[in-house]
Symmetry: C2
Subunit: 145 residues, 2 copies
DNA sequence: ATGAGTGCAAAGGCTTTGCATTAGG
DNA sequence: CCTAATGCAAAGCCTTTGCACTCAT
């Protein structure tokens, strides 16, 4: 989805829930869209013009609530955020176990189908309602190898 | 692997690195082995007899360093720990997005092979060294549905 | 005017660290 | 003996909250 389309979609989604698409929220979406991979709160602040930390957190809560951004858990402590998959397409993560950096990757559709089919069965068996799956590759990035 | 074998293996592994298999470490391994799914620090403390919080954290650092336990990231904030896969067997997680509880599951070997093959290719292409993969199912457990 | 959004500072919650004490090799 | 392990309390770090102010409808 192109950047303009993303903004249109996000604006619509927020308005449907009686939320404003404020300049900061627009800026956050902008930064995340341009980055193309999960960013930490500090990453977001650096790439925008000095947004207050609390405002970033609060806006991310709102954006997350309406499925516009997703919190990604990587090597532990600090949270990273990216646009939801319905805005960017389904993908997975290559996570560096050393520095925590994340790169987005896609896997063949056939594999996705296989995974979904198997997981649906398993979830049902265990009494879980299936929301989505998370397939990450843990390794060391080029710099940390 | 049976509990006794696990202790033997852990002891050996620690000794190889000139670390002691202290009573607390043994107790932590015991608790994790019996639980059969990832536990939080507080879970571990409750199931053992009042270990000091700092000691649990420190011992987990050691156990993690020598690949005896693994930190599992679930719905965000709090860390959960479980025994490493070479002690318990390769498996995946059913994670409740609401309460964070985790259940271990295994998927067919054929699917594992397919996943590994595809991911190896992708990791190589991106300059990552492949360590392992993480396939989780995110959903709602029976209680939270 | 009226509620939402923003900034700054303070508070929270999980995790880590300092330091004195105890125990194992 | 000497280093590792343990407990308690204090410090850290990321995240959340309180409160006053500004902005948009």
């Amino acid at each position: 989805m192109a950047l303009i389309e993303i903004h249109t979609e996000v604006e619509e989604r927020l308005h449907q829930h009686h939320q404003r698409y404020s300049p900061q929220r627009r800026e956050i979406v902008n930064v995340l869209a341009k980055a193309g991979h999960p960013l930490t709160i500090q990453d977001i602040r650096k790439r925008s013009n000095g947004l207050a930390q609390s405002s970033v957190y609060r806006n991310l809560v709102v954006l997350e609530e309406f499925d516009i951004v997703v919190k990604v858990v990587t090597n532990g402590e600090i949270g990273r955020y990216e646009l939801a998959e319905d805005l960017t397409g389904h993908h997975h993560h290559l996570i560096c176990s050393n520095c925590g950096v994340v790169r987005d990757v896609v896997v063949p559709h056939a594999l996705e189908s296989d995974i979904d089919r198997v997981l649906a069965t398993i979830a049902r068996r265990e009494g879980f309602s299936l929301d989505h799956h998370r397939l990450d590759v843990i390794g060391k990035c080029a710099k940390c190898r």
